[in-house]
């Protein structure tokens, strides 16, 4: 336990160690720590920002979806309306066509009937003429006339 030169040796050693530590050890470690702290802070801020953006875009997405739904239902309603309209139009057209055809058919029938009647009239006229010829040929007999006329009447 003698005090001797070791004292000074220890002081010098101590000074050298402190110098080395101050020069080569402390600054890089503290810088790295500071850099990491900054990096972590930046990362957290970025995460926050990302979260915020996510929320925002989710909101936007739901809005878009909502709009799309509304639009789709509008389109469907429009389409339904259009379909109903088309059906009505088709019905209308069909009805018109049917009526026209019916009218045409009736006209034809009437024409046919008219023609038949004309024919009939001609035939009647011919018959009348033939009957008259017969009557004129046998002389006129009241009783015979009556029978003849009756027969013509029946024929008409």
């Amino acid at each position: 336990m003698n005090i001797n030169l070791t004292l000074i040796g220890q002081t010098i050693t101590f000074a050298l160690f402190v110098w080395f530590c101050m020069k080569f050890i402390w600054p890089p470690i503290v810088n790295a720590l500071e850099a990491r702290r900054k990096q972590i802070a930046d990362g957290l801020a970025a995460a926050d920002r990302g979260k915020h953006e996510l929320e925002l875009s989710a909101k936007r997405a739901s809005e878009t979806l909502h709009d799309a739904k509304i639009k789709a239902s509008e389109i469907i309603a429009q389409a339904e309306k259009r379909a109903a309209q088309l059906i009505d139009e088709a019905k209308e057209a069909a009805k018109g066509e049917g009526e026209r055809q019916i009218a045409a058919a009736q006209a034809e029938i009437e024409q046919e009937a008219y023609r038949a009647r004309e024919q009939l009239r001609e035939q009647v006229a011919a018959l009348v003429v033939a009957g008259a010829e017969k009557v004129l040929r046998r002389e006129v007999d009241a009783k015979a006339h009556a029978d003849l006329l009756e027969a013509i009447k029946n024929e008409l």
């Binding site: 050693t13 402190v18 530590c21 080569f24």
Partner: protein, 280 residues
């Protein structure tokens, strides 16, 4: 384990003797082979064990911390880097808490003091007969493993701190300011001699208390380890008691060595803080 040839007193003395290198009584330079020879060397001698262990441990500390420092990036830290960063942050927060000025020297100084003294103290936990026994086998007469049980080591560090305290006192306050601090308070200028006496004692007490506190704690701890080791040669009961006591004392000592390193560091920071302040 007091060897057959030793008495208890010799055993204790042997453990408390440093390995001194200096001028022997016959005029040549060499290693002292007895306590008397070591004493006769006077001031111009060196304790090889104290300085050697101090330097080896200091270099180990610097090597590992330097390794971590060169690898230090902002990325994910590895094991060593993590540990080093944890220590550095702990020291940094201590310095921020106690030191109000701005000085790039203080934090590295505190780190060096804390780790170095901790490592020196840690040698106290090596079973006390291992290294001296090994030294004896190698023909080295003495080997005191724990540098902080040598007052030269603790006073050496305390003087280093004291020089810094004086340097910053002069630098921050100027010669006049520092002189005024020493002479004009607490009693004003008419109580100058009393002021000088009080403040002088206050100033001198700083390095002495730093050195003696560390030395005293470690020396006493080492002494108790030696006394416990003496029990090992006293029969089965004493052997077992000694074993239990040694274990208990070693566990307690884990606290002591850390605490002493921390106290030395904190007081250094506080003293330097006082040196930086204009008034206190």
């Amino acid at each position: 384990m007091a060897g057959e040839a030793h008495t208890s007193a010799e055993y204790i003395k042997h453990h408390l003797q440093n390995l001194a290198y200096g001028q022997l009584p016959d005029g040549t330079w060499g290693i002292a082979h007895s306590a008397a020879e070591a004493k006769a060397m006077g001031f111009w001698a060196i304790h090889l064990d104290t300085l050697g262990i101090s330097i080896v441990l200091g270099v180990l500390f610097l090597y590992f911390f330097r390794k971590a420092a060169t690898q230090a990036t902002a990325g994910v830290p590895g094991g060593l880097q993590n540990f080093v960063e944890w220590v550095v942050e702990f020291i940094d927060s201590s310095v921020r808490g106690s030191f109000s000025g701005r000085n790039p020297l203080v934090a590295p100084l505190a780190l060096t003091i804390f780790i170095w003294i901790f490592l020196l103290n840690l040698m106290d936990l090596v079973p006390i007969d291992w290294i001296p026994g090994l030294a004896t086998l190698l023909g080295v007469p003495f080997f005191k493993l724990v540098p902080t049980t040598d007052p030269n080591a603790t006073f050496g560090m305390a003087i280093g701190v004291f020089i810094l305290v004086l340097y910053y006192s002069f630098k921050m306050k100027g010669v006049g300011g520092f002189a005024a601090e020493l002479t004009l308070q607490p009693f004003g200028k008419w109580g100058m001699p009393a002021n000088l006496l009080l403040e002088g004692v206050n100033l001198i007490a700083k390095p002495i208390s730093l050195a003696l506190r560390l030395f005293g704690n470690l020396y006493a701890g080492e002494m108790i380890f030696i006394l416990i080791a003496l029990m090992f040669s006293g029969g089965a009961v004493l052997f077992l008691t000694g074993g239990v006591l040694q274990w208990a004392w070693a566990v307690f000592h884990v606290l002591i060595i850390t605490l002493q390193a921390f106290i030395f560091m904190t007081l250094t920071i506080v003293y330097l803080d006082m040196a930086h302040q204009e008034h206190h």
